[in-house]
Symmetry: C2
Subunit: 369 residues, 2 copies
């Protein structure tokens, strides 16, 4: 059967390998597997959220409140905006989809960093848009500006901090850049890991209300998947001016998050203490990775997230390292498909990280031979 020709040019997202697959393919026992490939919160979901879900689990037969009144009120209160500034997505991922489909068609251009979140391009291609990437791996605003001047763009994606590399621009520099962007260009500031960046360095902190008030052509994206420890529940949000958010509602399907996801997100917002504790532990453990890399003589990218990128340069081939780790039950992310000879490791719990170092020692020793 013939399909829309735009699909010929589409790409498929490569998900982190699930534990079930490693059990099936390599016969590793489930309990021995360490999965640090998808930037999940290694401290699990807040016990208060888990309790809430157990209490209401019999409500699965009921559709959620599609107005998402309570969740939007809670987010509006947290970010000092109104409910009308908020759209909820099945992950911030889905808000990206709404934004791209609302703004772009086959005549559009989307500007992004060379190595950044894969879904920007995937949704862009689905809309038939042309993808423009700055030359450096990491975000470089001079390059963004130069390419914007040369080619123009209907949309710009800034991932702050950036996934999968972990670097983060200073907010001051981002604002200076945004001053130069036309009000008809939609700029998406993806703050999926903002809670981590804001904790580590206040210069990286983005205040969504301030952002969208100063720059009405921007939309801020947030998620419950990372610091809020609800990666499996697919809940994120976009914050923008009312005209943009209203337009998103034309594309939002009804009931786009589940009854339990909605309840979990509402409850998670009430337990900021848990979130802050997780973030603190994250950066304590991250130091061990930095030391490990230095000891082994390879480099890492200074990270403002819950993962770290280890760069092998000419010492090892990241694909081989990742495969060898996988066969031993350690699931991390090889960045070869992003054009970088590096691996991205989610910062795990103390016990998980200790195991990673032990197995990585073995793998690197073997690959050296």
């Amino acid at each position: 059967m013939k399909f829309n020709k735009v699909l010929d040019n589409c790409k498929i997202y490569e998900a982190g390998k699930p534990i079930e697959l490693v059990v099936r393919e390599y016969g590793v026992d489930t309990k021995d597997i360490v999965k640090l490939a998808s930037n999940e919160n290694p401290y699990g979901t807040s016990p208060k959220v888990t309790k809430k879900i157990q209490d209401i689990s019999k409500n699965m037969f009921m559709y959620p409140d599609d107005s998402m009144y309570e969740l939007k009120e809670a987010l509006a209160n947290k970010f000092k905006v109104t409910s009308e500034n908020i759209v909820i997505g099945a992950g911030s991922d889905q808000v990206i989809d709404f934004l791209v489909k609302a703004k772009c068609d086959e005549n559009s251009k989307i500007l992004m960093s060379k190595t950044t979140f894969a879904m920007y391009e995937i949704y862009g291609r689905q809309a038939g848009a042309e993808i423009l990437r700055t030359p450096d791996d990491q975000h470089n605003l001079e390059q963004f500006e130069a390419m914007y001047k040369e080619h123009g763009a209907d949309m710009i994606f800034l991932c702050l901090p950036n996934n999968p590399l972990g670097e983060c621009l200073d907010t001051k520099d981002v604002y200076e850049f945004l001053e130069k962007i036309d009000s008809e260009t939609l700029v998406v500031v993806d703050g999926a890991y903002q809670e981590y960046a804001a904790f580590k360095d206040s210069k990286k902190r983005i205040d969504p209300a301030d952002l969208i008030n100063k720059f009405p052509n921007t939309v801020y994206l947030g998620t419950f998947s990372k610091a809020y420890a609800l990666g499996g529940m697919r809940t994120g949000y976009g914050i923008g001016q009312v005209d943009i958010i209203k337009t998103m509602y034309k594309l939002r399907p009804p009931f786009n998050i589940s009854t339990l996801s909605l309840a979990a997100a509402i409850e998670a917002l009430k337990d900021e203490e848990f979130v802050n504790e997780c973030i603190k532990l994250n950066f304590d453990e991250m130091k061990r990775y930095e030391e490990y890399a230095l000891n082994k003589g390879f480099s890492y990218i200074d990270s403002y997230t819950n993962f770290i990128t280890l760069k092998f340069e000419d010492k090892y081939i990241s694909k081989e390292v990742a495969q060898n780790l996988l066969e031993r039950g350690i699931i991390i992310r090889d960045l070869t498909s992003y054009g970088v000879n590096a691996i991205r490791i989610t910062i795990g719990s103390e016990e998980q990280n200790t195991k990673v170092f032990k197995v990585l020692d073995e793998v690197l020793d073997e690959l050296k031979k």
Copy 2:
């Protein structure tokens, strides 16, 4: 900001009013509200599924197995197809989105019944397609055939049984119709309520494997939202030939259902006894509505689903009936926006239905004055 011009022509889905809204707007106590507007299973979720979700609720921080291996294997086994014939959606709703976006653009035509599931048109308009509707409210295959001959169509939707009216075509007639459709026209057979239809009358039963083997240009849609009592968990599926399903994967976002939704669906498939019991109770209770309508002197549409459509003709105005019920805490669906002077009521539990009859008596008495 300027957006894609196709959005000017988009429609927004009108969701059934949630209980929270009736509490907020009419001050009715939560426990007094009877919500029979969204065709949820009134017997709640299977206790086995609820138990499973309680057991794994601490896993909310983890992304689901994006291959959905276990769920697809279970469905493949149930329907005697292979995993490669199956795509999972966030509700069968999302599979409709994939199918429309894969097949249609601004030059496409989509043929459907006058009064049928609203999302077909909503997704169709998002793709910029022209919507063609047969003149009768209920599915009429002669009209489908005549319009297909006259206008052609890239896609055809058959809702079997039909939401929101409840009628269902005989499978034999559907097959005869499909013989006349070009192999390049994608025909979607939406079986969201098939479990009910197959129970009531075997002539309405559709076997997805038989359907897609006889007609490789068809896709069968199923859902866990109705008979499987997981309306809030947003899990549905499409069954089709491998070439079509492969194409859907180009549009499927990663992790499109939540960790708990995936587990709930897998568990629900193991408890068919619960499903069968719910369906039996549904038709026992439906008889009470049929009798009620006859006693009151208005008609109903013979229903093969878990809801019934009461037609008021010139006796009452459905919008007024619905509003009066709402203010008394009974949430049902007014079909005015579908162009019919009728209300759709989900068949509730015995207790819920008794309350509906009592309050409906009051409302109809009052409106008669």
